[in-house]
Symmetry: C2
Amino acid sequence: MHVMIVGAAGMLGRKLALHLAQEGAVERLDLVDVVRPEGVAGAAEALVADIAAPGEAERLVARRPDLIFHLAAVVSGEAEADFEKGYRINLDGTRRLLEAVRREGERAPYRPRLVYASSIAVFGTPFPKRIGDTFFSTPRTSYGTQKAIGELLLADYARRGFLDGIGLRLPTVCIRPGTPNRAASGFFSNILREPLAGREAVLPVDEGVRHWHASPRAAVGFLVHAATLDLRLLEGRPNLTMPGLSATVAEQIAALRRVAGEGAVRLIRREPDPVIAAIVAGWPERFDAARAGRLGFKADASFDAIIEAHVEDELGGCLP
Amino acid sequence: MHVMIVGAAGMLGRKLALHLAQEGAVERLDLVDVVRPEGVAGAAEALVADIAAPGEAERLVARRPDLIFHLAAVVSGEAEADFEKGYRINLDGTRRLLEAVRREGERAPYRPRLVYASSIAVFGTPFPKRIGDTFFSTPRTSYGTQKAIGELLLADYARRGFLDGIGLRLPTVCIRPGTPNRAASGFFSNILREPLAGREAVLPVDEGVRHWHASPRAAVGFLVHAATLDLRLLEGRPNLTMPGLSATVAEQIAALRRVAGEGAVRLIRREPDPVIAAIVAGWPERFDAARAGRLGFKADASFDAIIEAHVEDELGGCLP
């Protein structure tokens, strides 16, 4: 099996590459990103490419991977700040990748599986209490618009038989490893990751704020499951809302207390930020991801489990 | 008021142009199409342009119309038969038009209203009994995919303030004037239009087939209403399923009998066509277009009224 990860230098791409390298079923692993993907092991090959640039997607697809994970994207905040860049990478990049696959198949039979990372940002307010599997996409950001367009393109290219496509609307990944970033969603991870490492974190919103989460492990699990799923089960609707854990900030903090004690909780500093609160108020709280559940995609069991997995994967099993 | 109709040579474009020319509120009327729009009256100017070709949309938008009707599209059958052409006209053409507006606004303040003709083809099977206003878009054709993408782009460009956008998902237009065409949906019109003119027509499906219709008058009415609607009422969800008349073929024929008598009905020849029956089985039957209704969009009152309007508009009020 020859696998290509486009967007391999991102958090999820790195974790997926590591998982695939350890699993051993992958004979060839192409790690593609605009910056050189680091820490490449074994059979993996690092490739620097911008899929939005003319000819680049063709060059990659000419390697004829059996399975392509398309994770490359400009994130929400950047796509909102730089209109043209967001459309160039998230829309044109995705379309060029799909077109490269179609054209490669014109030269000689070729029909790879393409797993597309979409996002719950395809949904926009107002929401029902639980967002069901047939709820419409009315994104309130350019990023969400670009992801929704990517889903439509994926579905049409799959329907036409140019590729075997599946799109996964990923929940917010929590706990995101690394350092605090300036994304509006950053605090969901910061208030757990930082105290777990003995550092202070800022909570800019009310504890009643509810959101839809998946751990990095769960997210990698979704991608891997999508890689082998019988796609006939999708019945021509290949884009799926992934299951997640709906939790309030208070529930996150309660889990932190159970796993790491009151000392960790005391490191969370309340600093209300009305700008962040307003952004977050427009985000979905809860989905009924019944279809994905039936298809075998598995959410995290609890926030305690999310925190424990983070301690295991990122902190070598140790609390400060 | 300076109005531009892009796709002015099509059936709806011609009827809209005629309506606007008669109404008198339009000072300047630009009629744009890839073929020269015919029968241009009064203040109207005919312009030949392919909005999908580089620079063409910019050239048009540089005229700075206050109101743009974007009706230009490759139809469903052609977009399915010619993948690249469908994407070029329906996706790239729409995007170039939106981009031209955005860039024109960068040069000097400019924010026209753009009324976009979308389609119920954005929906795909399986359907609920009535398709509600929050049902998702999972098109089963490339045309439907391209229209759904156009809707997403329109919404994002409107949200960003580059234009005032509204998208209308038009029902199947019935009775389509002209001659029988080879579109799979053609029979819905043929079985009324042809007998009304004393000619035979072929019915390829069962009389129980139900579909969602609007007369050319109603469709022009939607476009005109969208041109002056207070867009704040759209609350950031600018794409609307238009109201229509849900009718079975039997109900269409019963209306024909009432308006034109048994002699007309006898001109309908049953010739079952399993290919057309299979295509039509994938089409929506009925919508709950509550939002559009609340916003003042009006469907036809009955199929009798649709037939009577056709006799008035296309046959000079006379039956054979």
